[in-house]
Amino acid sequence: MKQLTVLSGKGGTGKTTITASFAALARMVVADCDVDAPDLHMLLHPQIIETKEFKGSKLAVIDETKCTGCGLCREKCRFDAITENIRVDPYACEGCGVCTIVCPLNAIALTERISGHTYISKTKYGFMSHALLSPSESNSGKLVTLVRQNAKMLAEKEHIDLTVIDGPPGIGCPVIASVTGVDAGLVVAEPTMSGIHDLKRALQLLAHFDVLPFVCVNMYDINKDNTEKIESFCRENSVETVGNIPFSPEVSEAMVAGKTIIEYSPRSAVTKEIEVIWQKISALMSKKQSLK
């Protein structure tokens, strides 16, 4: 099975719009790995087949009947997660367990907390693996890994040879969990100063994990000089550019209608360009496969 991750560094460049369009164009399993703020379901309307609890991290719990308030746990906790009156601050606690071993009265234990849910679903285009991290919960990297495992399992069961992953913004833990071991990464860039800066860091991340990079520019006509800068940067660094998508108010109209742009406006310039991008990527990915 081949895997492609759509990422961006900078948020809001159009990852989800593009991933949803790909899902409408080819047979694949889609995985929404932006587990903090997942949006793909609003375009693909998945029917949930299976829901599972996600136990991502642990939390220290103090048995107040045993605690004498000696404060050793507070002294040893490096996350400042024990308050002055010896209570656990759930936002600061990283579930490391140091307090459980320093407590002379064995009054502290680690408990599992339900940090979210994973879902396996069916959309009108195919199968989807997604999740939702509960608000204020941590360990999104681990949840991303679960979403990818579910996608892989689905793909194998249904004999589908491609997974497309909608990645989170940034370059930190959930993004790393979304790109490790995939065949290719499509970086959706925006022709702005911030967009260029963030694109470079996203490409560095793909290089760091040895993932084949592709770049497309979204809303390229907002600033054509910057689009050219992105293209020449990619040429100099031997990164394949796969297309430039024009700005169109139809993209947010499609979003309001809860549809992919492919479905909402099949003959639009945006749709045509995304189709070209998809053809290029699938050709490049199968070429890479045959080289292996």
Partner: protein, 278 residues
């Protein structure tokens, strides 16, 4: 007063709002807490005064004392230690620096050393002081870098914290301790969906909040209905204008070229101050 600027959804205009507000008021300390993709300095063009590494403590094994009992690896909640028959392997990028392995090792064979995960930069642009962090590419943990940036908060300043997108640990680390959180959203289904999640996070944390609707005019009216229903104040609307988008694309804070916006950002700051009661 400490004001954080967050959003849930990425690319809604956090940095743009934070920078324009910072440039419209006085006595500002600007902390860019989006250490994965720091962008504020691109708009502020600061003179860099200080650059230094951000390190975290990670364990090293003193092989002479280690008998490979594996208690450290059993204890570690983050799988940062692996006990082989002959050797304990350390994965520094997974370590949360809790120090538990040092405490649990019966042979006192664990030593702490430093591992670089990012860089802290301090600079100034006119009277404005800028502090920001940059996570090393390939390092997963942004939180310790954010913590380091926030260590520089000065009391008596108007502190503006530019948050990363999302709703999990890096965002929580950024907004905790804020007097107020300004949420920048766009009036689309994605904007609203992610706004609802971040509002819930902030309500759990008991941080007062208000909303700025950016790119007003696109999408639909559901954001307004939601805010009305939840009695969340809409502090400002920034219309979708080609000029604003173009200035942004060139790295120019739009209030510098469109001075009427400077007054609007001042008013925004004053209304936040009033809501906070400072």
């Amino acid at each position: 007063m400490i004001i954080s600027i967050a959003s849930g959804k990425g690319g809604t205009g956090k940095t743009s709002v934070a920078v324009n507000m910072a440039l419209s008021i006085e006595n500002v300390q600007f902390l860019d807490c989006d250490v994965e993709e720091p962008n504020a300095y691109l708009f502020l063009n600061p003179k860099t005064n200080e650059t230094r590494p951000v390190t975290v403590s990670v364990p090293f094994v003193n092989e002479k004392m280690c008998d490979h009992c594996g208690k450290c690896a059993d204890f570690c909640q983050y799988n940062a230690l692996f006990a082989g028959a002959e050797k304990i392997l350390v994965f520094p990028e997974l370590c949360h620096s809790c120090g538990g392995c040092l405490l649990i090792c019966p042979k006192k064979a664990m030593i702490e050393g430093k591992h670089k995960i990012g860089t802290l930069l301090r600079g100034s642009a006119g009277d404005l002081e800028l502090v920001y962090g940059e996570l090393e590419v390939g390092e997963p943990m942004a939180v310790p870098v954010i913590r380091e940036v926030k260590r520089h908060i000065k009391s008596g300043k108007n502190v503006i914290l530019d948050s990363p997108p999302g709703t999990s640990c890096p965002v929580i680390q950024t907004v905790c301790g804020s007097d107020f959180c300004v949420l920048v959203t766009e009036p689309t289904p994605f904007g609203l969906h992610d706004l609802k999640i971040i509002v819930q996070v902030l309500e759990n944390m008991k941080i007062p909040l208000g909303v700025i609707v950016n790119r007003a005019g696109i999408g639909d009216r559901k954001i307004y209905e939601y805010c009305k229903e939840k009695t969340i104040p809409i502090l400002l609307e920034i219309p979708y204008q080609r000029r604003i988008a173009e200035l942004y694309s060139r790295g120019i804070p739009f209030s510098l070229e469109m001075p009427e916006w400077k007054t609007r950002f001042q008013t925004l700051f004053n209304s936040v101050a009033e809501l906070v009661g400072k």
